[in-house]
Symmetry: C2
Subunit: 256 residues, 2 copies
């Protein structure tokens, strides 16, 4: 049985402040936890229904993690999601470093002030699909350890290096290191995505849901891309995760 | 002041069953309601903060709708969303007919058993961007009037014809009417999207988040498309709204 103190502690991790102070976050659900255990992330402890524990004995024996059997009721008390799913893990936040030298041959994604945790999670999954292993986030972008973000990544979070930095400083450093690499901003009213042959490696910058990329960052970019609408579309814009996916797919197609 | 009975009635519309019985649904927020009032949809009544009413006097004079000023507290009581936003409208469900003859020159989208209301809303917005005006949904697909769906469409819902039918019956009729039109299924492990020159007009079929397209429907399709992952991606799949967007963008690019 879980102690009241432990339940309280896990529940407290639903806020970003406590997560940052404890350097811990939660991962929930059968598939995300399976991906977690297959990754290099260090697990603090696991809380799972007895049937999940029975089904994952081999995996758990390898990881040597503290495993706590819980009841359905206990799982409902500690979940950060609307529907708990068999297992919750407490995970240590990694301390990845950003080394600009590793970005030379890569398609790199930068996010300016993204606000929606579900969008961030979907973008992490998209990046993983298109072979992007580094995402640079502006400091005010929603946190990658938000429970809704972790959920939406479907395990892709554990394969990416996420860095929260000043985006303007980062772009300065990227330009100095790679003066001929394109830096592409996704904007409304820019150049037709398909009319340019944009080379990778490059940096692709996506902006916030409500305000797009901040003007200071757009000014630092070498290309301004727009996904053309078809005909007299009444839609004003696309969802940012959708736009990211369309542009990444096109960059990979053009540079096969 | 709103009567308790009216508040109870509006709140009851949060369930699909009551919406279907009353033939009414809710639209919330400044932008969605603006798009609603510009559309041909018939509005039952509006519940809005006094400042919204003052700012929309001209629009309201034209629409001759019943307008009820409400307080912040009343709006919080009737909202179907986590964060209310100035205005809520009750709207009559339209009774669009599906005429197979109108689909001859179109790119048409079909959804098989989609479960997530946010995904459906994002897909409706994507369709609108890419000039698709008809979406055929299997009968067990999540309802287009779910408050989360309406919210995610950002107003695009009012520009599309949505039809809930037996997908198998529909494809039979489509094939009979247009025997040479491609019917493309988005699947895992199909043909490379970019290796085929798929012509529009055509029918594009997308499947559910967990199970993809049902086997009986896949069997009726003439093409099986897959978005190629890049390199040794660890991701198993893409979100369905993201996949829909990438394929629609590519079909429009190829058939410009």
């Amino acid at each position: 049985m879980l102690s009241a103190a432990r339940i309280k502690f896990i529940r407290s991790l639903s806020t970003r402040k406590i997560r940052a102070a404890e350097r811990l976050f939660t991962v929930e659900g059968v598939k995300p936890v399976a991906e977690l255990l297959a990754s290099g992330y260090k697990v603090h402890s696991i809380y799972a229904l007895p049937q999940w524990i029975a089904q994952n004995k081999t995996l758990l024996a390898k990881s040597k993690t503290e495993v706590n059997p819980v009841t359905d009721t206990e799982l409902e008390r500690i979940t950060q999601l609307s529907t708990p799913n068999q297992v919750l893990a407490l995970v240590f936040m990694p301390t990845n470093q950003l080394s600009i030298n590793t970005l030379k041959d890569k398609l790199v994604l930068a996010l300016d002030n993204l606000a929606d945790p579900g969008n961030l999670g979907t973008i992490i999954r998209v990046a993983d699909w298109f072979g992007i292993d580094t995402i640079i986030c502006s400091e005010n972008t929603v946190e990658q350890y938000n429970p809704k973000t972790v959920q939406a990544t479907m395990g892709s979070l554990f394969r990416l290096n996420m860095q929260y930095v000043s985006l303007e400083n980062f772009i300065e450093r990227y330009k100095t290191a790679y003066p001929t690499h394109p830096i592409a901003a996704a904007v409304l009213g820019g150049e037709d995505l398909y009319a340019q042959a944009l080379q990778t490696p490059c940096l692709l910058v996506m902006g916030s849901e409500s305000h797009g990329i901040s003007p200071a960052v757009v000014d630092m970019c070498t290309h301004k891309l727009t996904i053309p609408a078809y005909g007299a579309s009444g839609a004003e814009s696309l969802n940012v995760a959708v736009s990211t996916a369309i542009i990444c797919a096109e960059l990979r197609r053009q540079n096969k």
